[in-house]
Amino acid sequence: MTAGFSKDEIMAVATSRYITDGDTVFIGTGLPMLAAYLAKATHAPNAALMFESGVLDPRPRSIAKAVGDPRLVSTARRVSGMLDSLLMLHGGRVDLGVLGCAQVDRFGNINTTAIGSYQKPSTRLPGSGGANDIASLARHHVVVTRHNRRTFVDKVDYLTSPGHLTGPGARARAGLPGGGPVGVVTDLCVFGFDPRTCEMVLESLHPGVSLDDVRAATGFEVIEPPGLGETVAPTATELDILRNKIDPEGVYL
């Protein structure tokens, strides 16, 4: 691992790059929130953050306090409720969601329900929560996860939240409105999705990470694409914002 930044920091920075200025982004606690506030502090000042609690577009005086307790947000454009935040998703008003996973396959399908058989799993996980809703309804979403063979599987044991399902056209045939995943950010690399096959394709390796490292951690074939680059490292400015303004207590980082 390259000195200068941690795995969480490069994951937060890589995730923040998916947020375009002006987007409405559905945000959960933890790393997605750091990524979102970082994006707003850098290239996406007009991005509107939507929290599952129903807070829309907060302008907290202290980001650190807001990250510590997302409810301490004053000056939001709207505070409504959890049902309303889901309505924003249903109405197609959410441009981007950020999701974690216990298992993910090459099409970005996610399992957060059960490892092994559904009726008698080897590991029972919490279940969808709002993840299925986000994956089904957001215009696009990004998956953020640690990278290992337990997680990156050939086929998820239970499909909780839809990626591209079985491939091109599958979401539309199933009747799903949202566009599906556009990227996967891990502590080793960044994946995009090939528009022709809807499968994960490697976009960049983090500094100090080799293709062999990624293959060793992935349960499906990882092809070396032409022009495979290195993930742009977090800049000094981004690290300063993350460490000193967003999460000075080191709650998440």
Partner: protein, 308 residues
Amino acid sequence: MPSTGIPERLVSVEEAIAAIPDGASVAIGGHTLRRHPMALVREIIRQGKRGLHLLGWNNGIDMDMLVGAGCARVVETSYVGMGALGLARNMRRAVESGQVETVDHSETTAIDMFRATALGVDFLPNRTPLGTDLMTYNDGLVEITSPFTGQTYAAVRGVQPDFAILHAHTADVHGNVQLDEANWYDNSVDSFIGRAATHVIVSVEQIVSTDYVRSHPRQTYLPREYVTAVVHAPFGAHPCCCDARYGYDQAELRAYYEASKSAETFDAYLTDRVRSVRDHWEYLDKVGVAGLLTAATRPSVTQGAVQA
């Protein structure tokens, strides 16, 4: 105008919960670790209920505790977890050993199973579970086609639980149940749950006069038309938070999470916190005034609540 003739519904926790038979379906209000009706949950355990079908939309310590106490046969919701603390360990053990059956939902299908009944219809269309294993294993989600556009939907079957248990802020003796103006709006789904069940039991922080209710009509979220029994249970959501009234009891939640790591340590927790105390009031004595008021006066509660 006098209130004579309108039934009074205020009963003790014991009497309210005694109405629930083994094998009943019981819907539980609240979300993750927020405003679950924990005093009512603990009484269900004390009374040794068995074989319950639990329903909710996003659950945590409420369902995990009932599962760990052996009260549940089926768990139906979108989520059972302990939030930032980690997994719901009793739930995990019970499902992994085949003791408890699960019925999985997305958040919106979990909401819609109650909302359908609240609307007086037997299903509602939803697109979220399409193409996923939610459809495969949940027979309350069936693919249909719109008669107008041909669009594929999942029909979400409406549920009519035998009982609903909820926690709120104020109620009068007739069962007009209210939430404070300062509330997180987290639990708007409670009002659907309260409109879907046959018998609705609501514990509240405070019993108020009907005059108070009539002076604050916008706070009434479940009028008496829907409510079977009202229970006075201050700190009735403890250790969950309860909007602006009190925050999470972090120490108690951590102690619970620690205790849930094995069936033996959890049984000791249940003996200490549930079985050895006669009722909710003795439970509050056991937690202690210092513990309760620490939760009640945490800064995030007083500064962060939404004011209407």
